[in-house]
């Protein structure tokens, strides 16, 4: 049996009075890539941010239902949110390196979690950049500003930055939507590598990307414009793309809407 990383039960989510997600129940497998697809604005990113409690930062949001990470309720009072976010790393739509050097970007995470030893940090930085397939490109410019890297390199730097704090899960919120095709290719290859060691959950509006990189695919859809998104279908990627059970999934992946 596959190990379950995230167990989501009857999740509802509100922005103020607007209900964005309704009754989402899903098990996400460890060391697999799970993709969330659906039309833009359907709540994919909102769902993703529930998993590391980034929605807490938005005022007037409310959540009901349960989310368990390795059996632990992440919305219970005892959970340390900072520690949760370390365990569940996040890559954003636009690469967002900090305005400091390449090295400092990667060392930032370990530092805030208490690692001060210079040698240890050097090791972590090298290892993380290497895992993010960036080491060869930046090893001679570790101390140049991260913002001088190309967009694709910046996104891989952000991946290295997340890897440096040794997460269990990596959430990717449309990680390739702001970068060029060659860099996208590199990041997709990287996702394939990383799933050996991490559980990866990716939101994408690019269905071909979901088909290429994921093992499982979940289809979210808000059927009414102002209504909440529901989980329409969830299965192995192969089934979703070749033999979906729900008519709406079929319509979406064959490009009839969205």
């Amino acid at each position: 049996m596959v190990k379950v990383t995230f167990k989501v039960q009857n999740l509802d989510f509100w922005y103020g009075t607007f209900k964005a997600l309704e009754n989402i129940t899903i098990d996400i497998s460890a060391n697999k890539v799970t993709a969330f697809i659906g039309p833009s604005g359907c709540g994919k990113s909102t769902f993703l941010r529930c998993l590391n409690r980034m929605n807490d930062l938005i005022e007037e949001t409310r959540i009901e239902g349960k989310i368990f990470l390795d059996g632990e309720d992440i919305y219970s009072g005892e959970v340390n949110v900072a520690d949760l976010r370390r365990r569940v790393g996040m890559i954003f739509q636009h690469p967002n390196p900090f305005p400091m050097s390449v090295y400092e970007n990667v060392a930032y995470g370990p530092r805030i979690h208490g690692i001060k030893d210079k040698k240890r940090l050097d090791e972590i930085v090298e290892k993380s950049l290497d895992k993010a397939a960036l080491w060869k490109e930046v090893k001679d410019k570790l101390h140049t500003p991260a913002l001088s890297l190309s967009g694709g390199q910046q996104q891989r730097l952000c991946i290295a930055r997340v890897l440096a704090v040794n997460p269990e899960v990596i959430l990717m919120d449309e990680p390739c939507s702001a970068i060029d095709p060659t860099s996208t290719q590199k990041i997709e290859d990287l996702i394939d590598e990383l799933k050996q060691s991490y559980t990866i959950i990716i939101v994408t509006h690019n269905m071909m990307q979901a088909a290429r990189v994921s093992d499982f695919t979940a289809f979210l859809l808000a059927e009414n414009t102002n209504g909440p998104a529901k989980l329409i279908e969830y299965d192995s990627t192969e089934v979703i793309f070749t033999n979906p059970k729900d008519k709406r999934t079929e319509n979406y992946i064959t490009g009839r809407f969205g």
Binding site: N52, F92, M100, Y108
Partner: protein, 271 residues
């Protein structure tokens, strides 16, 4: 009247207004330069006034001016930055925050002589600090607090939200994020705010007249009194002691303030 002509006329009027601004500034600077430059010399800058006609230099007033402004800057910076961090990051947008902002903005438009009077009553008299650098600097700090605080708020608000997300996403706490990411990213603009505040304090007369005193001496300790350049200038001119030295002093003041503004711009550019 056809639209083309209206356009030309509007342009002409705007152009004249813009030109007027530049010309007025140039005339002012040129006038001060012509009147003040002859008085300027190394001796003028580095020696003390002598005799009843205040011949010689204005060195003690330069020292007192820098002493007061720097001390005010040192006092105001942590308070202004702390307040701005609280208002932008911790306080919930609501009546209290609005009240604090309204208070700060109102404080910024209070005439400086009122600050001077308050400084005299409170720092000089009640707290028994006497006419001193400390009384003067505290009064100036109060006066420029809203300027520096609002500038710092703007600086913090201009930091992209994605930096916060990146840091929180790595498991940083709020304070770690502010200290390690947000403040460094905002530091250029914060520094600009501080320099502009200091620039304002530098040219201040009324607020220091009642608090730092008028004694012409080189202040060493914060408890020493001292006369600032602007106050010296004011006394020289009103008492008709020496217009030459007054213009020399104002020319030097202009140079320093120009220096402040250029430095402030430098930090803005760097961003």
């Amino acid at each position: 009247m056809n639209r083309r002509l209206a356009n030309q006329i509007a342009l002409l009027i705007l152009w004249i207004s813009a030109l007027a601004v530049v010309i007025i500034l140039l005339i002012l600077i040129l006038y001060i330069f012509i009147k003040g430059a002859p008085a300027l010399s190394l001796k003028f800058i580095f020696s003390s006034p002598e005799g009843i006609r205040m011949k010689g230099g204005i060195f003690p007033t330069i020292v007192a001016t820098f002493y007061l402004t720097l001390l005010a800057g040192i006092i105001v910076s942590p308070i202004a930055i702390g307040g701005a961090i609280y208002l932008t990051e911790y306080a919930h947008e609501g009546k209290v925050v609005k009240l604090i902002r309204f208070g700060a903005d109102s404080l910024a438009s209070v005439p400086s002589i009122v600050f001077g009077l308050f400084g005299m009553a409170f720092f000089v008299e009640v707290l028994r600090m006497g006419f001193s650098m400390l009384s003067g600097a505290l009064t100036l700090a109060l006066m420029i607090l809203p300027i520096v605080m609002r500038a710092t708020e703007e600086a913090i608000l201009s930091v992209p939200k994605s930096y916060y997300m990146g840091s929180y996403g790595l498991g940083a706490t709020k304070w770690q994020t502010i200290k390690n990411i947000i403040l460094p990213a905002a530091s250029g603009r914060i520094l600009t705010g501080i320099i502009l505040g200091i620039g304002r304090a530098f040219g201040e007369t009324a607020a220091v007249m009642f608090t730092a005193g008028m004694a012409i001496n080189i202040p060493i300790f914060p408890t020493d009194p001292g006369r600032t350049m602007t106050l010296h200038l004011y006394l020289l001119a009103t008492e008709g002691i020496s217009l030459n030295i007054a213009f020399g002093t104002s020319f030097l003041l202009l140079l320093f303030i120009l220096g402040f503004n250029l430095t402030a711009r430098l930090f803005v550019r760097r961003i």
